[in-house]
């Protein structure tokens, strides 16, 4: 079994993770799926066999990120430059109403909260809290520095926290 075939099989195993990242960035299921399929295709047509010193998972996520952000730029040309700052949710409409936190309501709230973030911020949250990637790997996938990842995660979680309040009841650890 040649190296490239193994790499593609590895990539297919990370399909769901790639889908999650794509969705986080484009916020549309159908488009996310299309981008992931295109990412797999791109991975398969790379001129050189994917360097397995660089994990296929990271490579695939990087391709998804590139495609998703390009897609956004194409669809929304006014967003020609990525910004470090997403729309400030504070001061927008009131936080979610639910006091009783059932799983479905929580998901809806989180979805809405993520929807108000800059896609790159949301993508960082996904890569860390969804996939458990280390800061170094997140930086590699999103083409940011580790310091930016560290600061952005902090800010992004604070904003999500504000949007989820009062749904999440603070507890003493």
């Amino acid at each position: 079994m040649d190296l490239h075939r193994e790499a593609m099989q590895e990539a297919h195993r990370h399909w769901r993770e790639a889908y999650g990242l794509a969705w986080t960035l484009v916020r549309d299921r159908g488009r996310a799926e299309e981008l992931c399929q295109e990412a797999l295709l791109r991975l398969g047509t790379m001129r050189r066999t994917p360097d397995l010193d660089r994990p296929v998972r990271t490579l695939l996520l990087t391709i998804v990120r590139h495609l998703a952000l390009s897609d956004r730029r194409r669809r929304y040309p006014e967003l020609l430059q990525e910004t470090e700052h997403g729309p400030d949710p504070v001061g927008d409409e009131a936080p979610g109403p639910a006091t009783a936190l059932v799983r479905q309501e929580e998901r809806q709230l989180v979805r809405e909260a993520l929807g108000r973030l800059d896609p790159t911020w949301a993508a960082m949250l996904y890569l860390r809290d969804g996939l458990g990637l280390a800061y170094a790997d997140i930086a590699r996938v999103l083409d940011k520095s580790e310091d930016v990842v560290r600061v952005t995660l902090h800010r992004a979680r604070r904003r999500v926290r504000k949007l989820l309040h009062p749904s999440l009841q603070p507890k003493e650890p």
């Binding site: 490239h4 075939r5 593609m8 297919h12 399909w15 769901r16 993770e17 889908y19 999650g20 969705w23 986080t24 299921r29 799926e33 399929q37 797999l40 295709l41 398969g44 047509t45 001129r47 050189r48 799983r103 929580e106 998901r107 709230l109 989180v110 979805r111 993520l114 949250l125 996904y126 860390r128 809290d129 969804g130 996939l131 280390a134 800061y135 560290r150 600061v151 995660l153 902090h154 979680r157 999500v160 926290r161 989820l164 999440l168 009841q169 603070p170 507890k171 003493e172 650890p173």
Partner: protein, 307 residues
């Protein structure tokens, strides 16, 4: 003394396991004496947990590879076949009993990565056969005497061709995708020139084929398509072999390159009317069942599942 301003921004990194042991001890010591930071720590853990649950659910919701939004493997096959069939219908201006089903499925996702075969008996004893693997599709219809009526194949969802036994013509259908657009239909009779014109067309296509090598051995002509600069490392793209006026074989590899495909779309040698050896071509193929809805609709059209 560690201040709250110095601790709060680092709580994220602490929970993410990105702090050194010394930093962790520092923050832990501060939290023991600071209710405010303890609260912030707790809220952050809850936020991370909520995000984690959401992202886990997001992945659970992800469509499988390939897309499963429409019934299984059958639809991608028929979707690709639909494009060919629709073009045949456009050219021939005659109804085909499969038109309704295939046109309905024409917009299905076509990233077929599984292998499978399908055979159904048609009205009047004919047979419809479909075989697929990777991103390739073969489709043929035979009459009651097992004579092929139509054969078609495609790869990478971009180039589809069909061979009409009656007209002995290669009909080359190029499509940018299965989005319902009407692809351009090209015909090049007679057959011996059909293949060469096909190769010429491929040479001028977006695939950037740069070289077509043609070898003659008696009346055997073998043409090999070599990739151009953009696809140079994808290996041989395809080859076609003719003997006399008969197209002996046509093969190619998908553009993904993960698995080069070597297969014969059809065997049309005069002395060897072998049936389409799809199981030979796809050793990984495994029989699958139609879905209940698909079978019902095929049955309504006169086709019976032949296992």
């Amino acid at each position: 003394m560690t201040t709250c301003d110095a601790v709060e921004p680092r709580l994220d990194a602490w929970l993410d396991g990105e702090l050194s042991a010394a930093e962790q001890d520092e923050l832990a010591a501060h939290l023991k004496t600071c209710p405010s930071c303890r609260q912030a720590h707790g809220e952050l853990r809850q936020t991370k947990a909520a995000l984690g649950r959401f992202f886990h659910h997001l992945q659970e919701e992800a469509p499988a590879v390939p897309s499963r939004r429409l019934p299984g493997w059958l639809l991608p096959c028929l979707a690709a076949a639909a494009m060919v069939l629709l073009m045949l219908l456009t050219r021939e201006r005659q109804a085909n009993p499969l038109e309704g089903l295939i046109s309905r499925l024409a917009h299905a996702a076509t990233q077929v990565r599984d292998h499978g075969t399908l055979q159904v008996k048609g009205p009047g004893g004919g047979v419809l056969r479909i075989a697929f693997g990777g991103e390739r599709l073969y489709w043929e219809q035979r009459d009651a005497s097992d004579t092929p009526i139509r054969r078609a194949g495609g790869f990478d969802h971009q180039e589809i061709w069909t061979y009409d036994a009656d007209r002995q013509e290669v009909l080359f259908v190029e499509s940018t995708g299965l989005s319902g657009d009407h692809p351009e239909l090209r015909r090049w009779p007679p057959l011996v020139w059909s293949c060469r014109q096909l190769l010429d067309h491929l040479a001028g296509s977006a695939l950037a084929l740069a070289h077509v090598e043609v070898r003659h051995q008696g009346d055997l002509v073998e043409a090999t398509l070599s990739p151009g600069s953009e696809v140079r490392e994808r290996g041989r793209l395809g080859s076609a072999t003719l003997q006399g006026d008969d197209l002996v074989s046509l093969s190619g590899s998908n553009l993904v390159g993960a698995a080069a495909w070597e297969g014969v779309v059809w065997d049309a040698t005069p002395d060897d009317a072998r049936p389409f050896g799809w199981r030979e071509r796809f050793p990984d193929a495994r029989p699958r069942s139609l879905t209940a809805d698909d079978l019902e609709e095929l049955q309504a059209l006169g086709y019976v599942d032949d296992g």
